[in-house]
């Protein structure tokens, strides 16, 4: 990102901490790692850059003992080792902070740290580690209360617990998998300071990311991966964003989507003073208000867990609003059923596409009519109409370029990108008035991401009102006409996308209200 962590002298002279040589790992149908070489030295941040699915996480899971490589060697501090399990990795001084934190949410911070930790007493292990947690938090600037239950903590605090867990286990090499994806830009700067301190103490840090700016600002060296192979390793001081992008994607990259000017029409969705509770019964939406016009994309930015999920669920009928109103095409639809809203023209691209968006065991064609299965032409009286279903599915598969062996293939056999195309084909067919899209490109490769963004833009041009929830600020800034930032269940402000700056959005994401902001 924009700030700059100071870079130490290039530590070429020092011996390597970890060296991965010719690592190959195959999954059914995918060569995830192909003869990969990678190393990290003490006192450096070595970034592993690549798009989703390039094999970065697989490589690190091998180093951490979660996967076994099919071929290749791992050397730690000059010795060839075999890492069969995370326990081996921990013993060798390798720690990892996964992208999805590995924390036991109902337990306390201390219990999470004590879990599996050698040298803790048999009785009252949590009490024993609490003291060490406080010492380490002091030393590295990672404030956290050992007695709190993890589910009460923010994502940033949970990340600190993960880092502390690794440090207390004596990690000399720390792997951070997409660590900034859950942080505000300002919190990310804080994290970079912590990394700097760790660097000074001689730790080696592996920083996995697909974001060019932050890699450039935090790393000493950068290794770029593409489709399971290492494209090259460069020094951060001697490279540029453009070069990295080219290495990462394999061709010149245009950083701007072409987007027609916004021609907002009538107001399609109006939300007034909305209140709702989350699954734990706490208020997750506190007086949210905004409107979206036809032909407009409103982006919702914010760190995960600030009410975005609840907002999407209330708008699509999956969660009850306690107070406030939702108007769809001028009609009060507050707390109506998902089926009612969907029939009225509210499409929903869900956040967790496999958990919610598809029925894994049903065929592609059956998945394509989900939500519409109860209406003609797919259903007459009580019976399904296989011919109509098939014809519709055939058209959708062609139009949206869903790669599937057949219409009868179970949806679970499709790749992530194709599953998302399937969901979009289903949701966008029949000209919805409002499209609620939650993290529509999360975890997809560049090709699928681009295609899905184009599809959303096309909806906008065809006169749909689009609500785009995303944690990817670049995506939000690229696609949206206006950007609303959510923090702790409130909207901190709504700004036109043309006027928004990263700093301003970052401040709002951290809870600073925009003065005089009005959508």
């Amino acid at each position: 990102m924009v700030g700059s962590a100071q870079k130490g002298p290039a530590p070429t002279a020092r011996p390597t901490l970890v060296s991965l040589r010719h690592i190959t790992k195959r999954f059914p149908g995918v060569l995830a790692n192909d003869q990969v070489d990678f190393e990290v030295r003490p006192g450096e941040v070595h970034a592993l850059l690549g798009e989703n699915g390039a094999g970065k996480t697989t490589l690190m899971n091998i180093l951490y003992g979660l996967y076994r490589p099919d071929a290749g060697e791992i050397w730690v501090k000059g010795k060839k080792v075999e890492i069969r399990s995370p326990r081996d990795a921990i013993t060798l001084g390798v720690g990892m902070v996964h992208q999805h934190f590995k924390l036991v949410l109902p337990h306390t911070v201390a219990e999470n740290v004590a879990l599996g930790l050698k040298g803790t007493p048999f009785f009252a292990p949590a009490r024993a580690v609490a003291q060490r947690i406080r010492e380490l938090s002091e030393r590295y600037g990672l404030p956290v209360d050992p007695e709190r239950r993890v589910w009460e903590l923010s994502a940033g605090e949970q990340q600190r617990v993960e880092i502390l867990k690794a440090l207390i286990r004596g990690a000399e090499v720390l792997i951070l998998d997409e660590p900034t994806s859950v942080l505000t830009p300002q919190e990310a700067q804080e994290l970079f300071k912590v990394l700097l301190r760790m660097k000074e103490e001689g730790h080696g840090i592996i920083f996995i990311s697909h974001k060019l700016d932050e890699v450039l600002s935090v790393a000493d060296r950068i290794t770029v991966m593409r489709r399971g192979k290492v494209v090259g390793t460069v020094s951060a001081r001697e490279t540029s964003k453009e070069e990295l992008a080219r290495m990462m994607v394999g061709r010149e990259v245009v950083f701007r989507l072409t987007k027609a000017a916004c021609k907002p029409g009538e107001e399609a969705l109006l939300v007034q003073d909305l209140y709702a509770r989350n699954d734990r019964g706490l208020l997750a939406l506190k007086g949210v208000s905004f409107g979206i016009c036809r032909g407009e994309i409103l982006g919702i930015a914010g760190i995960a867990g600030n009410g975005q999920r609840e907002l999407v669920e209330v708008l699509t009928g999956l969660r009850r609003a306690e107070r406030g109103k939702v108007l769809l095409l001028g009609r009060d639809v507050t707390n109506r059923s998902p089926r009612f809203l969907s029939d009225l023209g509210c499409a929903h691209v869900p956040e967790e596409r496999i958990r919610m968006g598809i029925v894994p065991g049903l065929s592609v064609e059956e998945n394509l009519i989900l939500k519409k299965h109860h209406r003609p032409p797919f259903c007459r009286w009580l019976f399904l109409e296989p011919r109509a279903i098939r014809a519709f599915a055939q058209r959708a598969v062609e139009e949206y370029a869903i790669m599937t062996p057949s219409l009868r293939t179970p949806a679970k056999l499709l790749s992530g990108g194709n599953i998302q195309r399937l969901i979009l084909a289903r949701e966008l067919s029949g000209r919805p008035a409002v499209v609620v899209a939650a993290h529509p490109t999360y975890g997809l490769d560049v090709g699928a991401t681009e295609q899905i963004r184009q599809l959303l833009l096309r909806q906008r041009e065809e006169g749909a009102a689009v609500l785009l929830v995303s944690e990817d600020l670049e995506e939000i800034m690229e696609l949206s006409d206006r950007i609303a930032v959510m923090f702790r269940g409130e909207i901190m402000g709504i700004v036109p996308a043309g006027e928004a700056t990263l700093e301003e959005l970052g401040l709002m994401m951290a809870g600073e209200k925009r003065v005089g902001a009005k959508g």
Partner: protein, 368 residues
Amino acid sequence: MRRLGPFLLEPRLSPPRSVVFGVSILAVVVALLAAAPVFLGYGLSPWQAYAKIGRGIFGSWPSFSEVLRRATPLILCGVGLTLAFRAQFWNIGAEGQLLAGAVAATGVALFLPVPEGLRLPLMFLFGFLAGAIWGLIPAFLRVKLGVNDVISTLMMNYVMGYIVEWLVHGPWKGPTMRGFAYTDAFPLSARLSYLPGTRVHWLTLFLGVVLAAAVAFLLARTRLGYEIRVVGQNPDAGRYAGINFAVVLSLVMIISGGLAGLAGVGEVAGIHWRLRSPAQVSMNYGYTAIIVAWLARGSPVASIFTALLFGLIFAAGDYMKTTLGLPFQITGVFNGLMLFFLIGFDILMFWRVRIAQREKVWTSQIGS
């Protein structure tokens, strides 16, 4: 992919039908082998015992018809359970639902003043309804109060079992039955007729087969069937798609419990002609139907055949008891073993075995 000696194991997401079939057969065969020590324990050669049982059962039509008689309630309960399992509702309560049907049928047979011609149809109707209600209660408890379905359906079995005990010892005890805990015998108009020379109450069997086909059609070609499949595979997607889980589950349990209730009607109207103690009315048909449905992998039509298999096992149990002097409990042991092997072998379906470092791919029925 994993290496195991000279083999490479490769996971697969959806096994083809032939493999499912092969693995299921393998499980049955291995369960038969595993039950062999029981025969040895009774001083019999298992091989000879199996041969003798085979000859005894397939030797004549009347003895083979016992398989059909035993399979009849299993088909009805099993088909109902496939439907419940498809909706991911753990209906372990077919036993109680069957008994509820038997109680309702008895009530109509003995105490309801209706024209003779209407008596049997009403027995089936009320039997269905009683089973449906007994099935609906756990569905309601799950949807409204989050009560675990396994526990509630199981407990309902015991509750209904004791209600039947109470009826046959107390209010419904037949005045002409002296010391026995029976109700009076049903009038002739409340008895089902047999296939000639057998004890197969053909009407119930016929109902079972027809309803199996109907449920198969329901699942594949109707809106409700589609919704059951969606909800069963992914309840979150069901919610997302606007499917009302409570409604779907209620309908499922009406059908599932109702079918078990019909089985109960068949047993009292076809076999016993009276209500008697629950262990005699049902012989664990409701529990065995769980295996029937599981072995059929959720297919109602396949459960006709798996029910026949378990009908065979029950008939074999009868035969062993009368001819070989072996206790009937052997069937319980065998059923448990069968279920163990069935689920234990499931994992074979999800791995494809290849021989390492060779071009040629080795496949076979088992575990290929």
